[in-house]
Subunit: 139 residues, 2 copies
């Protein structure tokens, strides 16, 4: 499975393989991944390499991890559609650590900022889709 001479780091190969296993239906949304220890033995690498692979998947929003529990394949949360105001400015960035906890966001989830003259609203990107106003929409 792993190729130590491919020039691609082991943790990236493993991250890619785990993503494949999610696509292939072996690892379904909500299901638990094997423990870091198990994966370490399965892939024949150190736990450190497994942790690097998991970090990649967390940063991409693919899995969720909490201490003491095995990581789970992230379920796509319900998406709330938000009608954006007219002439609003929408910017997106990653939240800081403080923001992420204040807004109760998971790792690897961007922050959407909708800015108008009057107000500024913040939205975790995994829970909302922004809909721009249609032509017949009144102000």
């Amino acid at each position: 499975m792993l190729d130590r001479r491919s020039g691609i780091s082991l943790y990236r190969q493993i991250a890619h393989d785990l993503l494949d296993r999610m696509q292939g239906g072996e690892l379904t949304p909500g299901s638990e991944l094997p423990s870091e220890n198990t994966l370490s033995l399965d892939y024949g690498v150190s736990r450190d390499v497994i942790r690097d692979a998991m970090a990649v998947l967390r940063a991409e929003g693919a899995i969720s991890t909490t201490r003491g529990r095995r990581s789970t394949v992230r379920k796509a949360p319900e998406v709330r559609e938000i009608l954006a105001p007219q002439a609003a400015r929408i910017t997106v960035r990653m939240p800081t650590y403080e923001e992420r906890h204040r807004l109760d966001m998971l790792e690897g989830v961007p922050l959407i900022v909708v800015h108008t003259d009057e107000l500024e609203s913040y939205h975790p990107a995994d829970r909302v889709a922004i809909i721009t106003p249609p032509a017949d929409e009144p102000a």
Copy 2:
């Protein structure tokens, strides 16, 4: 500076401190951070801890790192304003590793997807702001 009994991990304390030093003007956009080795000695921690702190800052889009060179404080790139089509659906997520390289994106930069009936366009979040159509905008 560091408090080993605060209950806050060392790498988070260091990440926070480095962010403060960016805010305070000591580390300006485009400038180089000290090397991991230097920071390791300065803070009195292992290089591993420094690397964890740097990973946090990269994931938040605060710094850029390339192998063989010291990390730099990220400069805010020029923001291009894009007028969104009417009744478009805008979603945001982190790019996969492949997407990130294909679209030439830095770490910690979200991907904006603008979706309409006809087309789907992708935009690195650090280079664009989305403007929703004003009331008098024709279709």
